[in-house]
C-alpha cells in the first residue's frame, strides 16, 4: 500500500560521516555486489564495455569542493535513499509496489509489481531511485533488508553491505528513532543534519558535517612550503647568524 504508516516502530537508517569519508567508492561497489544478487536483483548495466556505459546503482559518491582558499576543502559525499518519514516516492506510486514498512521505516520497491512508470524517481529530491533499463523496474537502496535480519549471517555481519565495506568507519547503521541508540547519540554529538530539509520529506538518514579545521592546520596556498625558524639566542644559533651575515655581505 502506498499509504504511509502514521509512525514506524523503528527508524532504521544510516549516518554518514562527511569528515572521515575518503571517497574510495568501496561502499558503492560493495552495494552493487550485494544487491546484484539480493532483494532487488539484478542490478543491470547497459553497455558495460561500450561507448556509453551506465547502469542501476543504489549508492553514489560525489566529490565536492566547499569554500574558498584557506577555508576550502574537498568533501566526499555518498548519496543513497534516505528512507524518509514522508516519502512522496511512495504516495505517488500507482501500483503499490513502493511502500514504507511500518515496523522499521525501510522504503522498498516490490520488484514483482513495479510497472516501471518512473514517477517515483520524479518525486524523489535526492535522486535515490534508479530505473533498471533491462529489468524494466525501479531499483533503490533496500538498507540491505536481506542482510540486517538474515539469521544465516553471523550477528556482526547483519549490517548493510556499504557499512561493512567502509574502511574508515564513515558509515553507521542503527535505529534513529531510539534516542539512546549509538547512531542517535552520534548525530546529537556531531550535529548531524538532514539534506534539503525545506522539501519536507523528513529524511531518516543523517549526515555528519566535516569537523572544523584546527587553527594551526597547514593549508595549501597560505603557508609557505619552507619556513625559517625564529632564532632562540643559543651560541650555535648566534654562530649561524654570524655565518649568514658574512655570506650575505
Amino acid at each position: 500500500m502506498t499509504a504511509l504508516p502514521l509512525a514506524t516502530e523503528k527508524k532504521l537508517g544510516l549516518v554518514i560521516d562527511l569528515d572521515t569519508c575518503v571517497g574510495c567508492q568501496a561502499c558503492v561497489t560493495s552495494c552493487k555486489e550485494w544487491n546484484n544478487g539480493g532483494y532487488s536483483a539484478p542490478l543491470s548495466d547497459e553497455q558495460p564495455y561500450g561507448a556509453d556505459p551506465h547502469g542501476a546503482w543504489l549508492n553514489r559518491v560525489h566529490s565536492y569542493e566547499a569554500g574558498e582558499g584557506a577555508k576550502g576543502r574537498t568533501v566526499h559525499f555518498p548519496r543513497s535513499c534516505l528512507h524518509c518519514e514522508t516519502p512522496a516516492c511512495v504516495t505517488v506510486c500507482p501500483t503499490g509496489a513502493s511502500y514504507k514498512r511500518g515496523e522499521d521505516g525501510i522504503v522498498l520497491v516490490n520488484p514483482d509489481t513495479c510497472i516501471g512508470c518512473k514517477l517515483c524517481s520524479w518525486a524523489c529530491p535526492y535522486g535515490a531511485r534508479e530505473y533498471d533499463y533491462t529489468d524494466g523496474i525501479m531499483k533503490k537502496c533496500t538498507l540491505c533488508v536481506d542482510r540486517i535480519y538474515n539469521e544465516t549471517l553471523s550477528p556482526e555481519d547483519r549490517q548493510p553491505a556499504c557499512v561493512k565495506a567502509c574502511p574508515t568507519g564513515a558509515r553507521h547503521f542503527g535505529d534513529l528513532g531510539d534516542k539512546e541508540s549509538a547512531v542517535s547519540k552520534l548525530v546529537a554529538m556531531r550535529g548531524g543534519y538532514d539534506l534539503l530539509p525545506e522539501m519536507g520529506y523528513k529524511p531518516t538518514n543523517k549526515y555528519l558535517p566535516p569537523r572544523p579545521r584546527k587553527a594551526d592546520a597547514l593549508v595549501g596556498g597560505t603557508t609557505p612550503a619552507e619556513t625559517i625558524p625564529a632564532t632562540d639566542g643559543s651560541p650555535a644559533e648566534r654562530l649561524f647568524a654570524w655565518v649568514d651575515r658574512v655570506l650575505s655581505a
Partner: protein, 316 residues
Amino acid sequence: MNPAYSVILFTTASGAGYGLLVWLAFSVVLGGTLPTGNLAATALVLALALVTTGLLASTLHLGRPERAWRALTQWQTSWLSREGVLALATYVPAGLWLLVQWLWPAAWWILPALLALLAAAGAVATVWATGMIYQSLPTIRAWSEPLVAPVYLLLSLATGAVLLALLQAGFATSWHVMAILAAVLLIAAGLAKWLYWRRIDAAPRSWTVESATGLGSIGRVRPLEPPHTQPNFVMREMGYAVARKHASTLRMMALGAGFIAPALLLLLAASLPPVPATFAALAATLGAAVGVLAERWLFFAEAQHVVTLYYGAERA
C-alpha cells in the same frame, strides 16, 4: 525533465479527445435533441479513438506494460492511479452513449443526454487528474504551480472545441457557435499559459547546492568529481535541458501558431460558407496541434528537477 514522446502524445491526444467528449455532450444537452446521427457518431468515435491512442501511448513508457492494470489500485494516494481509474470509468458512459447513438437513434433524448453528461464529467475529472500528477510533485518548481492543472484542462477543452468545430463545419451543421467558442477557449488557454510562463520565470530559485549537501557553512559548494563517468538514469531522466536555450522562441511560436493564429482562423470560419469554413477549421486544427505539442514539450524541457543540484546546478 526528459520529454518522453509517449507522454507528450498521450497528454495531447487524450486531452483533445476528452475535450471533444465534453463539448459533444454539451451540444446534446443544450440542443435538447441529438446532433445529426453521422456527426455525433463520428465525433464520438474520434474522441474515443484519440483517448484510446493516448492511453495506449502512455503504456509505451512503462518498463513493464503487461503489469499496467496494477496502476488502478492506489487511487487513495496516487494521482496517476486516479487518472487511470477515471480514464477507464469514463469509457462506460461514453461507450453506452455511442451504442445508443448507433443502435437506437430514436431514443428519448434524456437517455443519451444523461450518458453524455456522465462521460463529460469523467472526461473533465480525468484531465484534471493528469494535471495533478505534475502539479502534486514538490520536486519540480515549474510544475508545483497552481496553474498547471487548470492549464491542462483549458488546453483539453480548447483543442476539443476546435475538433468539434471542424467536424460540424465538415458536416455543414451549424458550426458558428462552436467555432467562436473554440476561438475564445484558445485565447483563454494561451493567456493562461502566458501567465504560467510569467509565474515560473519570476519564481524564486531558493533551493541551492549548499542546502542539498548541507556544506554551506564551509562556503560555496561546487562539484569536483562526479560519481560516474557517463550520465546515469537520474541525469538522463531529470537532467534534460536541450530545449531551454530555444525556450523563449518556442514559447512565442507555440503562442502564435498554436493559439492566436487558430483562434483567428476559427473566427474567420464562423463567417464563411461550409466548404471554405472546413478548410479554415482544418488549418486551425493543425496549428493548434503544433502549438499544443510544442507547449507540452516545453512543459517538460523547461522543468528543472531539484536533484540537478547534486549534479552541478547551483540553484533550482
